[in-house]
Amino acid sequence: MMAAPFLRMRDISKAFPGVVALDRAQLAARSGAVMALVGANGAGKSTLMNILGGIVSRDEGEVFVAERPVALRTPIESLQAGMGFVQQELNSLPTMSVAENIFIDAFPRRLAAIDTGVCNKRSRELLRRLGSDLDPRAVVGDLSVGDRQLVEIARALRRDPRLLIFDEPTASLSPRERKRLFDVMRSLKAQGVAIVYISHFIDEIFEIADDVTVLRNGRTVFSGEVASLSKVELVRHMLGSLDYEARLQRRRPAEPGVLLRVASLKRSGIIDDVSFTLKAGEVVGLWGLLGAGRTELMRALVGLDPIDAGAIHWSENGATVRIGPAELGRRAGFVTEDRRGEGLFLAMSVGENIVMPNLRAISRLGLVRIGEQRRSAARMIERLAIKTSSQDQRVATLSGGNQQKAVFARWLAGAPKLLLLDEPTRGLDVNAKTEILRLVNELAGAGTAVLLVSSELEELTRVCDRYLVIVRGRILAELPESATAEQLISALSLTDPREIAA
């Protein structure tokens, strides 16, 4: 019934030091069909695609292209085998023209010079194949994100690939641009190209894909036609059966008052009319898939990204004031998953890192009192049980869990009323995770409101008092503490009612 797949990856295994990224993973893609590749973070999608791109070599397994085994030792071999990639991250050259962007690594030449005429003509043809009449002479830096992406697709098409891999291509597109991209994918499909489409957006998969392959922990757990399963089933495949650990013992303030009220926060194309409240001493889970706008919402709240509209009200000691995001950023603690990049001064010591935001409190006449600094840091190291040889140890040399504790220690010293935690346990081992969650719990007990983002449901269900479900930048549901994992998973496949109407 079905033609033999153009690409078949069989029993692919790959281990990196300390991690098994792929464990006998399978993947098949047909010509003239869109195959969605999905999986939670760390499921092995990128490793699988890097193997396909010749960037990473496989430990075991075979890859067949049109029934013939291929080695894929280098990116060049991958290109020769007919693969084309459109990366999530745009590889644009903004000061250069559309045609130059398309042909930069292999210009058509006449004698020594670039044959601009041929270059523009062929660019126009490639773009027309994508249904676009962009001027090849236009400067790419002046184009919209969607048009820049078309230029990159045109660059990939230049080699006439028989398989095109789109790695989360819609992450930064507007709805209109997304629709156009899907039209492009459909027309490429009609031209007989096999398409692998990586996405976190469940609704998109049902809109565009014919087949779907689900990876979880390096294994292929589902592979088949999209039509054969429901959205809820797909999400369940992605997340797997959950190992529940008992809820952590809780102590919450007796009469919590509303601390923060956010009304109609908007950021064009990213955050869509978000309203919610947080009470003192409450842990609220912001539950959504990657790319749903979780991080973006947090960044907008603390003023790291601009907002287009919305109000933030802060209540303390019976008084409510309206504040801007920058002010909220000063009042709230913000811990990100990227502790090395955003959170810590890696070259400095543990002690220096801990006291950094509170230098004024331990200074006199503008000079830091070293004795006070050491006492303050020592208190925090003890309180959080940070494992370090001394407070002079460089923070870069701590383990991940202890680094994250150092980030927490920094905020605790200032006793913030609100903590925003974005994947605070990413990359930590089980014990370190539990310690961080216990800390979150303890802080809530002392009256701090916590907004917690995690991709791991079993983690959220251990500490959260409430859940806000975020899909495509909108809060689509609010679930109580008693919500089951099943309910939470189902909630992710909710679709924005307005999109159905559209």
Binding site: N91, E100, D105, F107, I114, G141
Partner: protein
């Protein structure tokens, strides 16, 4: 020519160039007129050649501040060969330029092979090459024989030979930048080196080439200058690297690479500095004030460009095809 006039009108550098020219024409009656302009074009030609090489490196997002010392080493070797009559004149020139190429190769090995930031790497070689040159000359003067000296000030009709040569070199560089794969790819590298690498541009090979060219052009500039003044001194090329960078950037090439028109930038930038220098000479200003004024001119030109083009995009308008 039309595009050059366009650039003069559109860029801050063009306005500053006109302004300085007008100011000195008013201040010193002898300044205005074609004769002095040709004289300025003569004196500026070594800088145009050095800046053309610098522009290639800056376009790719790197810096080569060893060019002044490279020019000095080439000048020293050239002067020794000519003084002692070791080789005929054309061979002396070829050897000197080859030496520049080799010094460029040293830079390339450090920048590409050892992956050291180009600013730091060439800061090191700037000092080292100067030391190399001084040990060749013992820091003394080497006076060229009279027969050779005259070559430096040879003119065909009203145009000096070195002016024509410098402009020809600059036009070739402009053509290479605008119309060849190499030129486009170094611009791509200047846009974003990581992206260029991902797209499949041979970034390392291209970078090596830019540094080789920069070395060869610096040596050429050094030889032209030596012929003009007829003597090699330990001060040759001193400060030339900064004037070259300033000329390129003031003219409109982005210091971060990837943007700008090399032809107009190098001409405008080099001319601004030479006009200021010649003008100050003719009004009889204290020679020690030259650098002070040049520094001020850099700020005025950059500020004028920011006002004219809009902050952050200096050079974009020069780049677009009209």
């Amino acid at each position: 020519m039309k595009r050059l006039l366009e650039a003069v009108r559109n860029s801050g550098a063009g306005l500053v160039l006109l302004a300085t020219y007008v100011v000195f024409s008013v201040a010193a009656p002898s300044f205005f007129g074609p004769q002095n302009l040709l004289e300025i074009l003569h004196v500026v030609s070594p800088m145009i050649v050095v800046a053309a090489g610098m522009a290639i490196v800056v376009m790719s997002g790197k810096l080569d501040i060893s060019v002044g010392s490279t020019a000095y080493v080439a000048s020293a070797i050239f002067a020794v060969i000519v003084r002692d009559g070791l080789l005929p004149f054309p061979a002396a020139v070829a050897v000197s330029i080859f030496v520049g190429l080799m010094l460029g190769l040293v830079n390339a090995i450090i920048v590409v092979g050892l992956k050291i930031n180009s600013l730091i790497a060439t800061l090191g070689t700037m000092i080292a090459f100067r030391g190399l040159g001084l040990s060749i000359t013992d820091g003394g003067l080497i006076i060229l024989p009279d027969a050779v000296k005259d070559l430096g000030n040879l003119a065909v009709g009203p145009i000096y030979l070195d002016t024509a040569l410098a402009l020809a070199i600059l036009l070739v560089v402009q053509f290479v930048h605008r119309s060849t794969s190499f030129g486009r790819q170094i611009t791509a590298i200047g846009n974003n080196e990581d992206v260029a690498r991902r797209i499949g541009i041979p970034v390392d090979r291209r970078t090596v080439a830019t540094l080789l060219l920069s070395g060869a052009f610096a040596a050429t500039g050094g030889v032209i200058y030596t012929l003009q003044v007829g003597v090699n001194t330990a001060k040759i090329g001193d400060g030339m690297e900064f004037t070259a960078v300033a000329a390129v950037v003031v003219g409109g090439v982005s210091l971060f690479g990837g943007r700008g028109n090399i032809l107009t930038s190098v001409i405008l930038g080099s001319m601004i500095f030479q006009i200021v220098r010649s003008g100050l000479q003719q009004v009889g200003a204290n020679p020690y004030s030259y650098r002070l004024v040049e520094g001020v001119v850099i700020f005025i030109a950059m500020y004028a460009d920011a006002l004219k083009v809009g902050t952050g995009s200096a050079g974009t308008r020069l780049f677009k095809k009209s």
